[in-house]
Amino acid sequence: MMAKLGVHDLSVRYGKLTAISDLSFTVAEGERLFISGPNGAGKSSLLGAISGAVRAAHGRIEMDGDILSGLSPEGIARRGLSMVPEGRRIFRGLTVQENLLVGTGLRRDRAAVGDDLETVYQAFPILRERAHANAGALSGGQQQMLAISRALMTNPKLMLVDEPSLGLAPKVVDEVYDHLCALQALRGLTLVIVEQSSARAARVGGRMILMRGGRIVADGDAATFAADDLLSEAYFGDPA
């Protein structure tokens, strides 16, 4: 079967600094993939390159067999990829509902937008309650829910989520992951999640790629990683 997402020999450089070198992996349809690793491993650069926000030095990125490399971020979004970025980046001066609607302009099924909005509001009643308030007034956890909902409103097939637990209390992180997993099951989404905590990834469950220095050092079931030496190797060991 064709992979949902294929990354082949991807390299990303910022000037002379190499963030990612010759990285390859594929993600199957409906899979949940965690990308973990220490700071500076290249996790966010990887998501940036897939979403089109960061230009790759070389390599090829494919979604459903179509080549994404060279497309604009909006062109990639229009093919069914959506992003929950690091730091959430909600539009603070827009209302909650306006935030949710920004990404619906690309949809051909405009009629379904109302139903999707209703689904979001049922999943997150607080967003309905605050629908016409400025999004900047939401708490951190609520903003994360909004960022996830906003990404869902584009009706994506593949969703990239960058550090959803950043800056949130552990209990709120539990909630965020509960919602993400429920949404994935409901929609048949393919999820790629950058998660610094491999323990968290193991608890949620799924496949995990461990990155270090812009390369993949391990790839397997997240649950088996928790006890593995590879993990401490990746975080504390000598550079490969």
Partner: protein, 302 residues
């Protein structure tokens, strides 16, 4: 007398506000201060007349009845701005903000010289809608009809623009892009559409300013965009770069202050009205260097 002053302040402030909005709209989405905006205004003025080096202008487009002329000249302004974006600013999209700004200066000089070649350097008399100079009696005040029309038009334009930004798809995308362009694109918002939209609106507003200037002064001058561009730019800075309400408020305030100074300065000081006006601007900026309505989008993007 005092009622008269209110009308003077509103009409002058309204024009400054419309000009400032033209700059703030583009700054909002692109972080570009478009110094060619004054030349957009000048071009829209000269679009009214046929190319000639004579001192008396022959109306071309300007001879049309107002119902056709106004949409035509607004369309011309919007088209010119969109064309300028496509030819000059789109190739510079990924350049530094400084390069963009210098590009806008270059565009302004190029447009001005194009006008010089086509129309010559001498100011020309244009008689556009001479009937609008008639005074209308309102209470104790004698107000030129034109002033009332300008105030009404400004109110209408501000209302329509606010509605468009708040209610329309393009308006939503422009506001999202003004806050975080990269994020908006990740959500499928087309950069070209939003930027072209901002330029079209800005050019349309430049055309409105051009019509009012011509109707008020009866003159077409190649240099006429420069003065109002300066005031409009100052209004966007005082209002808070990128803040549309700020640009309107500061434009209105500058117009009102200008009208008040004109009325109340002693005769000997009146020639120095602008010096007093800009001293006020300096004072405001000393106390609020970020502008009256500082917006989040004025922060540099990475």
């Amino acid at each position: 007398m005092s009622l008269q002053l209110v009308f003077d302040a509103l009409s002058l402030g309204g024009i400054y506000a419309i000009a400032a909005l033209g700059i703030a709209l583009i700054f909002g989405v692109m972080k570009l201060v478009n110094f060619a905006h004054g030349q957009f205004i000048a071009c829209a003025v000269f679009a009214l007349i046929l190319p000639t080096a004579d001192a008396v202008a022959v109306l071309g487009l300007g001879a049309l009845p107002a119902v056709l002329l106004i949409p035509a000249i607004i369309g011309f302004g919007a088209g010119l701005a969109v064309l300028a974006e496509a030819l000059v600013f789109r190739p510079l999209r990924h350049a530094s903000p400084v390069a963009l700004m210098v590009g806008s200066f270059a565009l302004g000089v190029a447009l001005q010289n194009l006008l010089l070649v086509l129309y010559g350097g001498r100011p020309k008399a244009i008689s556009l809608w001479p009937d609008l100079g008639q005074p209308v009696q309102i209470g104790a005040a004698q107000v030129p009809l034109l002033q009332l029309i300008v105030i009404g038009a400004v109110a209408l334009i501000l209302g329509a623009l606010a509605l468009m930004l708040k209610r329309s798809r393009l308006g939503l995308e422009m506001r999202a892009a003004a806050e975080d362009f990269g994020m908006a694109r990740l959500l499928g918002v087309r950069a070209n559409r939003v930027i072209s939209g901002a330029f079209a609106l800005s050019g349309a507003l430049a055309a409105v300013v051009a019509l009012v200037l011509v109707a008020q002064t009866g003159v077409a001058d190649v240099r006429m965009g420069g003065q109002i561009m300066l005031v409009a730019f100052i209004a966007t800075v005082v209002g808070g770069m990128g803040s549309l309400p700020g640009a309107v408020a500061a434009g209105m305030a500058l117009g009102a202050a200008s009208a008040l100074l004109q009325a109340f300065l002693p005769d000997a000081a009146r020639p120095f009205r602008d010096a007093f006006l800009y001293a006020l601007v300096i004072l405001v900026l000393l106390f609020r260097p970020q502008g009256i309505f500082a917006s989040a989008s004025a922060k540099p993007r990475v």
